[in-house]
Amino acid sequence: MKRRIPLAIVFIFGVLGAIPFLIPHRIIQNADNEFRSSILRIIVAFSLVLGVGSIIRHHFQKIRRKKENWQYSYITLIALVISAIIGLFGGIDARGMLPTQFTVPFTEYVFRFDIQTLYTNIMVPLAATMFSLLAFFMTSAAYRAFRARNVEATILLLSAFVVMLAAVPLVSSFFPKLSAFSEWILTVPNTAAKRGLLFGIALGSMATSLKIILGIERGWLGGTS
């Protein structure tokens, strides 16, 4: 029974999920939209509670067992509580019950700490910092990848060299044919390889979905039995 119910749910919703693709009728499309926009949102909201529970449990365990760098767990938990309070009672843009802005005494400067301000001034710069690390990681990865160890690696190196060189305006203005060659590399062999991969991915994805809907693949349930 523990397995049959989830398998039955997956079968029913798997088949129902495929129907709107073939039937454009308003009744079917509205039912599908209703399911996706309302019911799934409710499920996600419940799962978020589980996620927050996991964070709290994980960091409490860390503090209790005094694991390495356990002090940082306090920061996580405090940040979680503060942002939850501001988010729940302060509103998104300082229009909630909780006062999330005040004028600094003797100045006209308004200090805001509503969720939108916190997001714009903390989350966005932090994410941008992590993202900008990519430039350095790309350099180190390129250094490893572009070593002419065998024929394939040499072809990769030469192709990369041509594409990078053609991207330099000065070089492409002197050698217009290089730009055309670079364009050819990107649009012909590169696209051909990509499309080959996409065919495999589309079929694999379809086969996996089918295996799950029919209950052949049960790994996501924790096992095959």
């Binding site: 693709f21 073939l22 039937i23 454009p24 009728h25 308003r26 009744i27 499309q29 499920i43 996600v44 799962s47 978020l48 589980l50 996620g51 927050v52 996991s54 964070i55 449990r57 994980h58 365990q61 390495e68 760098n69 932090l126 994410a127 992590m130 993202f131 690390l133 990519l134 990681f137 790309m138 180190s140 990865a141 390129a142 490893r144 990848a145 991969l197 996409l198 065919f199 495999g200 991915i201 079929l203 694999g204 994805s205 379809m206 086969a207 996996t208 979905s209 089918l210 295996k211 799950i212 029919l214 052949i216 693949e217 790994g219 996501w220 349930l221 924790g222 096992g223 095959t224 039995s225």
Partner: protein, 392 residues
């Protein structure tokens, strides 16, 4: 058209009645205005047709027309409609010159509409003849997708056929996949070094097939870690994936008879913020120094950040993704990479379950059909363009 001719005749009659002797100035002005009007005369679009948009949920009507012969000098075309029972036409849209079709997406199903199109030049608007009456409706089947239905049916048949053959004990060959053969070795290495294994089931949601494939592989990896008593760490970005991943690991430990060895704290939710998650994973890698890192699922720009950090810690790294843009990064930074569909095959490969292997075989035949169709179509296109055929 008849209206325009009548107007011209009326104007000519007025011109004739103005006496040249009595009102020379007025007659000259009238003549000038008449000639200027003639020089700006524009022809309306013709042959306006309207029909219900096919294969949709209703509420939409297509309109097409033959463009005006004066199209190059126009500003564009104004489309107006007359609903059944309404007093007059209402304008519904304007599109530029050279265009000859428009879709009215604000119709009420069951109500009849008639359309007309005006050629517009500055303030001059010349209307076409009205179109036929038409009403929009919902369709019960999308005929554009018959080809998808046919191929999907064939594909399902192939998979079910090979699954049933596998059930009867047919031996099925599966080629070696280096990345999956290395799983055993990677888990063994972590056990010998006394270090944990880090497993990331991608950053996408459960709606993504790659995530489900990643969780299927997690089940097999967790069985091995349970057998070897190796620590496994599974950080998650999505709360639903976290819940499923936790159950998968727990179930795997139970299946190999080690439910007591399952640590509930080993599978946890981190954050749903993409780069915050990447930062957390980087932190785990540098603090815990896992001997093996698995990246199985769908990844975005953070793929290189986590894979390069993992490489710098000296861990064996096995990645698998169907994110085509991220595959080059994984191939560069990881020891083994499951490319595209290999990720979906991993579960069958690792478990050697006959039913799963049968489905895999069906998938291969499906691919063979596609290759066959592509080759045949290419050949036909080449033959159709042979110079010798132009002789006939």
């Amino acid at each position: 058209m008849i209206t325009s001719i009548l107007i011209v005749f009326t104007q000519l009659e007025i011109f004739r009645k103005i006496s040249w002797k009595k009102n020379r100035f007025m007659k000259t002005t009238f003549l000038l205005i008449f000639l200027t009007g003639l020089s700006f005369a524009i022809s309306p679009p013709t042959d306006v047709r309207a029909w219900d948009s096919p294969n949709d949920a209703g509420g939409s009507i297509n309109i097409a027309w033959r463009i005006s012969p004066d199209d190059p000098m126009l500003d564009g075309y104004e489309i107006s409609r007359l609903a059944e029972g309404a007093a007059d036409y209402e304008p519904i849209g304007f599109i530029g010159k050279t265009r000859n079709s428009y879709t009215d997406e604000e119709t009420r199903d069951g109500v009849k509409y008639q359309y007309r199109v005006a050629a517009v030049k500055d303030t001059i608007m010349v209307y076409s003849e009205p179109s036929n009456y038409v009403q929009s409706s919902s369709q019960w089947f999308n005929t554009d997708r018959i080809n998808v239905l046919v191929f999907a049916t064939l594909f399902i048949f192939l998979i079910l056929w090979f699954t049933s053959r596998a059930k009867k004990g047919m031996s099925l060959f599966i080629r070696k996949i280096a990345g999956l053969d290395a799983v055993e070795e990677a888990v063994g290495r972590a056990t010998e070094m006394g270090r944990p294994i880090l497993y990331i089931p991608g950053l996408s949601t459960m709606a993504d097939v790659a995530t489900i494939a990643g969780l299927n592989i997690l089940g097999e990896v967790a069985k091995k870690t349970a057998q070897y008593d190796t620590k496994i760490i599974v950080p998650n970005r999505d709360p639903i994936v976290y819940t499923v991943a936790r159950e998968v690991v727990k179930e795997s430990y139970t299946q190999v008879g080690r439910p007591d060895a399952f640590n509930p704290d080993s599978v946890f939710f981190v954050t749903d913020s993409q780069f915050a998650f990447a930062a957390a994973v980087d932190g785990i890698m540098t603090r815990e120094k896992p001997a093996t890192n698995f990246f199985m699922g769908y990844f975005w720009a953070e793929s290189l950040i986590i894979a390069e950090t993992g490489a710098s810690t000296g861990a064996i790294q096995i990645a698998g993704s169907d994110a085509v843009m991220q595959l080059p990064f994984f191939i560069t930074a990881c020891d083994y990479t499951l490319i595209g569909e290999e990720l979906y095959a991993a579960s069958a490969y690792l478990s050697r379950e006959p039913l799963l292997l049968g489905a895999l075989k069906g998938q291969d035949y499906g691919k063979a059909v596609i290759i066959g169709v592509l080759l045949a179509a290419t050949l036909l296109a080449l033959i159709a363009n042979l110079p010798v055929l132009r002789l006939f």
